[in-house]
Point group: C2
Chain length 154, copies 2
């Protein structure tokens, strides 16, 4: 199966980056439609996801992760809070910080949205052979590893 291996799928970083880039765009574009049911915008859903999986964290750190400025995150958190999906609290050590925490409802809503996305993506993956699926899974794992290096700050 990996006969002359290097012929078609080049190892050349730029060529691989090209395919990867296109695939990432199309994957996310495909799953995007599943989010409509959640009733949440993309920006809110994404921020909620970070809060649910990243535990309680300061608003500023959340803004940094989401690549937006603090005022933008203030508005997003306000929206999530008024929907009862997150809760704010003052930091214990430093009372300037606003800790953002997911509520039980927030976790449930996010989990449902996540499941819808993944199920939609899974239908695409079912078109692949088991060997290809294994390859996609392993490639994604390797990428996540490579991307987690050099994380700005935690």
């Amino acid at each position: 199966m990996t006969g002359k291996a290097t012929s078609r799928p080049s190892v050349e970083p730029l060529a691989v980056a090209d395919r990867l880039h296109s695939a990432a765009i199309r994957v996310l574009r495909r799953v995007r439609v599943a989010d409509e049911e959640s009733g949440l915008s993309a920006a809110r859903l994404s921020a909620l996801s970070v809060v649910v999986y990243g535990g309680p964290l300061p608003l500023g750190r959340l803004a940094e992760i989401e690549q937006v400025r603090a005022p933008t995150m203030t508005a997003l958190v306000r929206g999530l809070e008024s929907d009862g999906l997150v809760r704010r609290s003052a930091g214990r050590r430093d009372r300037r910080v606003v800790l953002v925490t997911a509520t039980a409802r927030g976790r449930r809503v996010l989990e449902q949205a996540r499941r819808r996305r993944l199920e939609l993506l899974a239908t695409v993956l079912e078109r692949l052979t088991p060997a290809e699926r294994r390859q996609v899974g392993a490639a994604a794992a390797a990428l996540l590893e490579a991307l987690s290096i050099e994380r700005p700050r935690a």
Copy 2:
């Protein structure tokens, strides 16, 4: 290399979808910063990309591909046009349609933005072993194939 294969990287579609989803999000989040230099917003850059690679095409079709409504695309195309990146023309057969075509400048600007993105992504890929890069490239190719099936309409 594929010894007991099924142990770690599961073939189960939902599990693979999970890793793939996370990887796609992080890949695009990482390359996003490269777009700032282009001076174009994400929405305009994405639309320009479709026009450059998808040849001249009707505004409505462009809106469909970008998953936005016609008025939104009218505004985006107006912006790109005033920057001299695309040109509009009436359809020959049907003069209601507005054909959107990339200008030489539009192609050049997009190509530069694209190169910046891919070079950034390539630096991430350089952390992988050649075997992993080959795997990522092949996985992306398989995905692109699976995603291109069932395209709504051309």
